[in-house]
Amino acid sequence: MAELESLGAPLATSVPASASSVPATTVTPRHSLFVRVTHWITTLCFFALLVTGAELVISHPRFYWGETGNDSTTPLFKLHIPSSRSLVPSGYSYVLPDQNGWSRYLHFQSAWIVFLTGLLYVISLFFSGRLRKNLFPRRADLSWRAFSSSIADHLRFKRPNVAETWSYNLLQQLAYLFVIFVLFPLVIWTGLAMSPAFVSAFPLTVTSLGGQQSARTLHFFVSLALLLFLLVHVAMVFLAGFTSRMRAMITGRPGTPTERT
């Protein structure tokens, strides 16, 4: 634990109480302006993608494996929800309003914005050294003991100590690395694999996944994994101290360490 504390960037106590009297450049923020801006752009886009994605699913809440699938083929599984299209055998006697037009427009626009934002973020991650400094597990953490104790802390819903305001713990690092380098690339890949024009130029994008309907099914599951990350992420923010964590991500300053939510 002592080691963790020494890692903590400027200790929170060194932050002046009235920050407004001091030029902002003299205080190292918990999260740089770039990280804060890209974080909230990603948040907005993610919500837009989630809502519109769910909207698009209800127009055909059936999932298949392979190249093709339609109302007269056997689905891999189906969601037992009403549909926004009358021909889908949903088991419900009513049809939801069709909102696919704007949902598609917004889905793809958000995808573009989050893709370009993410690209900038990953480039900066490599060039600023933040990847190694913040996201790569520390050497001392790379042991079964450290790993199991971190898991135990999480399972006991233990509140993180003060030093963790200024750094990420092992599970957090692994989760962020997984989202940035596995889930986001996968969701983009499976999304592109559904585009008939894109795969005409790059057919391997879809054939490697087993077909266009497989890509759609995988896109659904990767989206669920991202949703699960979001839920855990938000739960952890509440557990660690909602005000301090939100303030750190909005203003850059986590606030006084003794603060309670």
């Binding site: 055909h60 109302d71 427009y105 024009a197 894109f198």
Partner: protein, 257 residues
């Protein structure tokens, strides 16, 4: 840190930020100019979703100008009959259907050297082409079929498209149903005026007797019951100027995604 040095720092920051913003604005302006010049801006580029639409259309047009839609083997043709939604047929359609579509005409006009009208037999007299491709509905379902028809480029050759043409607008016998494609799609080798499917005449349920087939775009661009083609350089003259009926109902003009 003294006040002076921090003020210097902020002034330097201000100047670099200003320069970056100016360069960014100039870059965007240049990009917009080039995009317009090379036909990378879709007709529905205005409004809040214009940015995403333009990025999608421009990048896919750059990547896919000549790429071919995936073709499948005949064993992959979807076997079970599948649901397909069509609007109630008009009386005029029923009259033509009763006559075996012998009186069906495809008229071609606009920026062409020889405006013409084709019967189905005339269209079938050109060498027929076949493709086994997937039709994907924007809802999420799909099927693979064998499509037989005449490439649209062949018909455009016959009528002689003028060099300034940029789009082909196509009209259905269904009321208020029309769409358009750029010349890259119109001249693409897999863009068919389709009259046959899986070894038979194209069924009415699938758009028979004549359907536009664009395997690189979603189902709704593959308009059924085609009766007219108009070649143009300006989509603003049609409907609300959004290039198709679909954007008037909130759906994107470009459907390659």
């Amino acid at each position: 840190m003294s006040d002076l040095s921090s003020r210097k720092l902020s002034r330097r920051k201000l100047i670099t930020t200003g320069l970056a913003a100016t360069a960014g604005a100039a870059g965007l302006g240049l990009a917009a100019h080039l995009a317009q010049k090379y036909g990378l801006v879709p007709p529905d580029h205005r409004g809040i979703y214009g940015l995403g639409e333009t990025l999608t259309y421009a990048s896919q047009r750059l990547l896919t100008r000549h790429s071919l839609a995936r073709e499948f083997s005949s064993s992959q043709i979807s076997k079970p009959p599948f649901a397909n939604q069509i609007e109630p047929l008009t009386d005029e359609f029923k009259r033509l259907q009763a006559g075996g579509f012998a009186e069906w005409r495809l008229s071609v006009n606009g920026m062409v050297a020889r405006p013409s009208s084709f019967s189905l037999d005339q269209l079938k007299s050109y060498p027929s082409h076949t493709q086994i491709t997937m039709l994907q509905c924007e809802e999420g379902w799909s099927y693979i079929a064998e499509w037989v028809g005449v490439p649209l480029s062949r018909v455009l050759d016959v009528v002689g498209v003028l060099p300034q043409a940029k789009y082909v607008v196509y009209f259905s016998m269904e009321p208020d149903t029309w769409d358009s494609i750029d010349m890259a799609d119109a001249l693409h080798s897999q863009t068919f005026l389709t009259y046959g499917m899986n070894g038979h005449e194209l069924p009415v349920g699938h758009g028979g007797p004549l359907r536009m087939r664009l395997p690189r775009q979603l189902g709704y661009k593959n308009v059924k019951f085609i009766t007219q083609l108009t070649v143009t350089d300006d989509l603003k003259k049609f409907g609300k100027g959004l290039g198709a009926a679909a954007p008037e109902f909130g759906y994107a003009w470009y459907a390659g995604i």
